[in-house]
Amino acid sequence: MYAQMVDTGVKKIKTLEEMTQEEQAFQKKIDDEIKIEPKDWMPEKYRQTLIRQISQHAHSEVVGMLPEGNWVTRAPTLKRKLQLMAKIQDEAGHGLYLYSACETLGVSRDDLVEDLHSGKAKYSSIFNYPTLNWADMGAVGWLVDGAAIVNQVVLQRTSYGPYSRSMIRICKEESFHQRQGYEILLTMMREGNDAQKQMVQDAIDRLWWPSLMMFGPRDDDSPNSQQSLAWKIKRQSNDELRQRFIDQTIPQLEVLGCTVPDPDLKWNEETGHYDFGEIQWQEFYQVLKGNGPCNRDRIRTRKKAIDDGAWVREAALAHAEKHRDSNAA
């Protein structure tokens, strides 16, 4: 979801007999729910998969600041401005925290960021959609952070220790963001005028499907999931998580008094879940490929920030270097 399509590089999952002794011991730890720590032996593909997944997650937190930054200068009240600023600050902190988790796997933040800017690394497709009215700040908190939580609550039990611990810490803040987002929408629906109510419905109409896409392809089309599940990097399938999100979100939608743009959505007594319509998979794959409404803009903005800041980071290093010399002398 924040990591939607993570390649494991594995064509076929090895059976126990096909594994080396090291691999067997590793898989046994995983099966016994013992966390893998940075110094432990791990299969190279496990390590690479984790780097891809955690860095995608980190990049998502950072790129995700842009659609919110788009409204932080226009928040309607001081309270809303303070809330949004605090959220943005949290997201930057999540990014930092996840980059650190990723660095325990032997990669540098600079290299990861370089991969983002070159287009080699991905981030969640949701952040390639624009935020067009103030209600988007509510809808992003409610739906996007909400979808993130569904995934990340499960990832608290992921097999890699540092990743699991970051998820535990991050989840608390994400739930706060979600409640805050929902409250923005609820206030507009209950105390707002017609124009404000239209903003809310418009935001949901635009963000509903992209939010469902956050969970990644259907299980049938998700060839890498099996290995990730076996390694317990993932703990539940895309479709299971997506269904859980829908099931918990629709009652909240009804409290708002809004609708989602899906004529096929309906409660299914037999399954105890909501049925829903087909996601526009072509759009999903196009946005992942870079053809969403904001992809180019988001990456250019991030690249420019880091490029423009190079002289600042160099100066800080140079100063620290000088300082060290003068201390030593």
Partner: protein, 262 residues
């Protein structure tokens, strides 16, 4: 009591109201400028620090403006004051509305303001107006950190690379003419100082000059001409061209949908 903000008056509560706007508007406008950095800072750590300082400033602004509204008792609240006054009704210092420029420009602006802000708040902790003293005491802890951080950046960039030194020198030189206004006291401030509720800028000025001289020397930055001609007018509502655009952006929703609840 209703206050017509466009006419000057010496009555005590009108002076106090004006002074509270001065205290609240500067952190608001600076906080708004810092919001513009979102997603564009030179490092993730700076994204966090900038947002954090902006949060402090806007939180402080809310306290001051709430007190201003309470003082005026004219049906205003902090949001109305922030989002429905026009530029000429704003009482912030000119320095805080200056554009972000590059990171050195932002840090030079921040440093000069932080030093003034801290010393002013420290003085206000002794105000005989209990509400003022209370708000100042809360803010002082936050602003002490702001100053430490911006001072560090002046030194790092000044005493960093050749390029950063050149940019920091330029930034300091460019913003310098907006520093004098901080210490100019008009009748409003003089009256309130006499009453014991406002900060005496005459006493703060020397402390500020000492702080700045020491930091610039450490940063290997040449001190700008202390007798340079200084801009002023912000505290009286005469601003630079930038403020109108800041407000146009910041107030958009309140202007487009008047009296809506958000």
């Amino acid at each position: 009591m209703t206050i017509n903000m466009d006419t000057q008056s010496n009555s005590q509560s009108e002076a106090l109201y004006d002074y509270l706007l001065r205290l609240g508007d500067s952190p608001l406008i600076l906080g708004q400028r810092l919001c513009e950095w979102c997603g564009h800072a030179p490092a993730l750590e700076e994204e966090i620090a900038i947002m954090n300082i902006g949060l402090d400033l806007i939180g402080q602004c809310r306290n001051w403006l709430e007190l201003a509204a309470k003082t005026a008792d004219n049906g205003q609240d902090a949001d109305k004051l922030a989002f429905t006054r026009d530029a000429h009704q704003y009482r912030n210092l000119l320095i805080v509305e200056q554009p972000n420029g590059n990171f050195a420009d932002t840090m030079a602006r921040q440093y000069f303001y932080d030093a003034w802000h801290l010393f002013t708040l420290e003085a206000l902790c002794n105000s005989n107006n209990r509400d003022i003293a209370e708000i100042a005491a809360k803010a002082v802890k936050e602003v002490r950190y702001h100053l430490r951080r911006s001072r560090e950046w002046i030194i790092r960039l000044g005493d960093g690379t050749e390029l950063s030194q050149q940019r920091m020198q330029q930034a300091i030189d460019d913003i310098w003419m907006y520093t004098g206004e901080m210490f100019e006291m008009d009748d409003i401030e003089k009256t309130l100082v006499q009453e014991g509720c406002a900060a005496d800028q005459q006493q703060i000025k020397q402390r500020w000059l000492d702080e700045v001289a020491e930091t610039l020397a450490t940063a290997t930055i040449n001190h700008p001409d202390p007798d340079a001609y200084m801009q002023q007018g912000g505290k009286q509502g005469v601003h630079t061209e930038g403020l109108g655009f800041i407000l146009a952006e910041m107030q958009f929703l309140q202007r487009a949908y008047p009296n809506a609840t958000w």
